[in-house]
Symmetry: C2
Subunit: 410 residues, 2 copies
C-alpha cells in the first residue's frame, strides 16, 4: 500500500498493444492496493513526425508554436492509456501538464519547472482512481503550453512524485537498470541494485544514456528516490537514492562510463590572463555549451593555449562562439584537435581512496592506452582517450576495479 509514480517512455506506449501491456502492469500494482500516478511520453515516432511536418513548413519554426504542436503527442497517450485501463476495469482519468499543475517559465521548447502543485491528483487518488499525467509539458505564467525539452517526461515523473510525496517513483525504460559499464562492451558488467544520486549524476554526464542529468538533479534536490527498470520484464531495476550509509570499504567505484561523442578543442595564442580565459568560458556558458576536461598550457611570448572537450555535434557552434571572443581579445585561434572518447570511473567512496587514480592508469597502461586530458571530482576521474581503444580500455578498467565481483551496494 504505497503511493507510486510510474513513468513509461515512448517505446513502451508506441502502439495499441504496448499500451495494453502498460495498462496491465499498472493494474497489477493498483490491485495490490497501491495509489498509482502514471506519467507517459508521446508514442515513439509521433514527435518526429510532428517535427518533420513543422520543418517542411519552416526551417526554424517558432518555439511557442512548436510547444503547441509537440504537446499533442502526450495528450494522445494519456487519453489512450486511460481508455485502456477502463477496458480492464480500472478507474482512471487523464491530466494534461497544465491540469496536473506543472507550472514552468516561458522558455518554450526548454521550459524549466517553477512550481508543481499536482492539481487534483490527490483527490482523484482518494477516489481510488489511477491518474495518468502527460509528461514533457507544462504551462507558462501566460497560460501557454510549454515543453520541458530532452528528458522532460522523466522530469515530470520525478517532479510529480515530489509534489504528491510519492513513496517511490519508477522510471520504466528499455534498459534493466544502471550497470557498472555498458553491457554491450563489457560482457560481465553487473546491474547495480542501488546507486547514489551523485554517482548517477556523474554517470549521466559521462555518457551513460540511461537518464538526463537534469532529472537526477531534481530528484536529489527534492530527495525523491526513484527506480530505473525495464518495461519488458518484471525484474527489479536500480534504485537511485541518497546512500548516506554507504560504507566506503564496500564500494569505491560504482561504474565505468564511456562518452564517444567528444571533440577536443584547442584555443591557441590568447592573452595569458584570467580575464581572457573568463571571456571564453563566459561566452560558452552564455551559449549553453558545456565544456569539460580543461587544460591551460603556456605558449610563447606570454601567450596561453587552452584545450578542452565539447560534444562533437556542438563543435561548430562552439567554434563560432569562441571565434567572436578571440576577435574581441585581439589574438587567438580556435581549431578542432580530433575526436576523443571520455572514459569516467565514478564512485562516492573515491575521494578517500588515494589508490583509485593509480589503479585507473595501471589498467589503461596494461592495454597500451594513453591519455592527456584528465579531470577529477570528488566522485569521478575522467580521461580523454583514443575512441578506437575505448572498448578495450573500458573492459580493462572494469576488471581492474573488480566491478564484476562487487557485492550489491548499500
Amino acid at each position: 500500500m504505497a503511493l507510486i509514480v510510474q513513468k513509461y517512455g515512448g517505446t513502451s506506449v508506441a502502439n495499441v498493444d504496448r499500451i495494453k501491456n502498460v495498462a496491465a502492469r499498472v493494474k497489477s500494482f493498483w490491485q495490490q492496493g497501491n495509489k498509482m500516478v502514471v506519467v507517459v511520453s508521446a508514442r515513439s515516432g509521433v514527435t518526429n513526425e510532428l517535427v518533420a511536418r513543422a520543418k517542411a513548413l519552416h526551417a526554424m519554426p517558432n518555439e511557442r508554436e512548436m510547444d503547441m504542436l509537440l504537446s499533442v503527442g502526450e495528450q494522445e497517450t494519456i487519453a489512450l492509456l486511460s481508455i485502456a485501463l477502463h477496458a480492464i476495469g480500472v478507474p482512471a482519468c487523464s491530466r494534461t501538464g497544465a491540469q496536473a499543475g506543472v507550472y514552468t517559465d516561458s522558455l518554450h521548447t526548454r521550459a524549466r519547472i517553477s512550481r508543481i502543485t499536482g492539481g487534483d491528483i490527490n483527490e482523484r487518488l482518494e477516489e481510488g482512481k489511477v491518474v495518468i499525467v502527460a509528461g514533457f509539458q507544462g504551462i507558462s505564467p501566460k497560460d501557454e503550453v510549454t515543453t520541458l525539452g530532452r528528458g522532460g517526461s522523466d522530469l515530470t515523473a520525478i517532479a510529480i512524485a515530489a509534489a504528491v510525496s510519492a513513496d517511490l517513483c519508477q522510471i520504466y525504460t528499455d534498459v534493466e537498470g544502471v550497470f557498472t559499464a555498458d553491457p554491450r562492451v563489457v560482457l560481465d558488467a553487473r546491474k547495480l541494485q542501488e546507486i547514489d544520486y551523485d554517482e548517477m549524476l556523474e554517470l549521466a554526464s559521462s555518457g551513460s544514456k540511461v537518464m538526463q542529468a537534469r532529472s537526477v538533479e531534481f530528484a536529489k534536490k527534492y530527495a525523491v528516490p526513484f527506480e530505473v527498470r525495464s518495461s519488458l520484464n518484471d525484474k527489479p531495476g536500480t534504485l537511485v537514492k541518497d546512500i548516506a550509509s554507504k560504507t566506503m570499504e564496500d564500494a569505491v567505484v560504482s561504474g565505468v562510463a564511456v562518452d564517444r561523442t567528444q571533440t577536443r578543442v584547442t584555443v591557441s595564442d590568447i592573452p595569458d590572463n584570467a580575464r581572457a580565459i573568463a571571456c571564453i568560458f563566459n561566452a560558452l556558458g552564455d551559449a549553453g555549451l558545456n565544456v569539460d576536461m580543461i587544460i591551460k598550457n603556456l605558449g610563447t611570448q606570454g601567450r596561453a593555449n587552452l584545450t578542452f572537450s565539447v560534444n562533437t555535434d556542438q563543435f561548430a557552434f562552439a567554434e563560432r562562439v569562441i571565434g567572436a571572443v578571440v576577435k574581441e581579445l585581439g589574438s587567438g585561434a580556435v581549431r578542432a584537435a580530433g575526436e576523443v572518447a571520455k572514459l569516467s570511473v565514478v564512485g562516492v567512496g573515491m575521494v578517500s581512496h588515494p589508490g583509485v587514480a593509480g589503479t585507473l592508469f595501471n589498467a589503461l597502461a596494461s592495454v597500451g592506452v594513453n591519455c592527456d586530458l584528465i579531470t577529477t571530482s570528488e566522485i569521478k576521474i575522467a580521461v580523454a582517450i583514443d575512441p578506437l581503444k575505448a572498448d578495450e580500455a573500458a573492459r580493462a578498467v572494469h576488471e581492474a576495479f573488480e566491478l564484476n565481483k562487487l557485492k550489491p551496494l548499500g
Copy 2:
C-alpha cells in the same frame, strides 16, 4: 479593410502542401489590410485514426477521454498553419478552444457552447497578427477539454465571428456553395448567390450536406452572415444571411434537396389518444431522435396507427425506444415500412404562393412518382418518395420551378 473569420475543414489542411495553400490564401486577405481570424479542423484522417486506436482499446471509450484524445487533432493543425504563415512572412499565433474563450457545458463529445469571449483575439488582431483558432473544441466549467460534435468547426467559426463582431465569416469547403439542387443529379443546378438563414436551415435538415443545421441556427440567432465557398478556387460562394428585403415575386423556391437516408416507421395498434402519442414522441425526443413527416391513421376498434420517417441508421435505436413505450402502453407494434427518399422544395416566398404544392405534385406526376407522407412548413414542402425514382423526381421538380433560370436572389 474588414474583420474576416475564415474556416477551413480537414481536407483543406490534410497535409503540408495544402496547409501551405491555406496560408497563401490567408496571406492574400491579410495583405489587403483585413484583420484575419482562421478556424481550422483536424487534418482529414487524423480523427478517424485516433478513434480507431481508442476503439481498439475499448468498445465504448469514455467520452471525457475521447475529448482529451480528439482535441489533439485541431491543436496540431493550428500550430502547423501558424508556422506556415510565419514562413511566408505573416505574423500569426495559434489559440486552442480554451484560449479563445469557447466555454461549453460538460456534455463531452457533443458539448454546447454556453459563452464565447474570444480570449485575447482582439488584442492580437490589433497587433496585426493573424489568429489561428482550433475548431471543434471548447472548455467546460470544470476546465476540461470538450468537443462540439459534428459540424463543430463550422460552429466555432460562426461563434467566434459573433464574439469578435466580424464583418464576414467564410466557410471554406469542398463545394462551391449552395446549389438549387445536387449538381451531380440535376446537371443544370445553379449556385445561389445568396440564401436566407431559414432556407439554409431547411436545406441542411433536408439532406443537403453543405452544413449542419446547428451552425446555421447559431448564425441566424446571432445574425452572423456567412459565406459558403470552395477552398479549391477563388470563386465567390453563397452568402447566407437574413434576406428581409427579398421580394416575393422574384424567388418562390430556392432549391430542391433529396435525403436518401430515411426509413418509414409504422407504429400500429396504439390507443387513440393524445397521451399515448405524446408518450411515443416524448421518448423519441428524449433519446435525441428526430422524426419527420408524421401521419396518424385510425385503425380498428378505437386504435390508431402512426407512420413517420427517421434516419435509416437510427431506426434500430428508434425501434428499441418505441418498443419500450408500447410495452408500457399495453398495446402496439413497431416495424420498418421500407426506405424512402425525402424530396424537399425550399423557399421563403412559398407561404404566400398557393401554387407551389400544385406545381410540385404536377412535376412528380409527370414522371410517374407517387408519394404518401407529406409535410409542410412556411418555407418547405417535403414528400416521401421511392428512393429509386428520387433523381428523376429531383430533375422534374427543378425544371418545373425553373430553378435553372432564376436570376440571382436578393
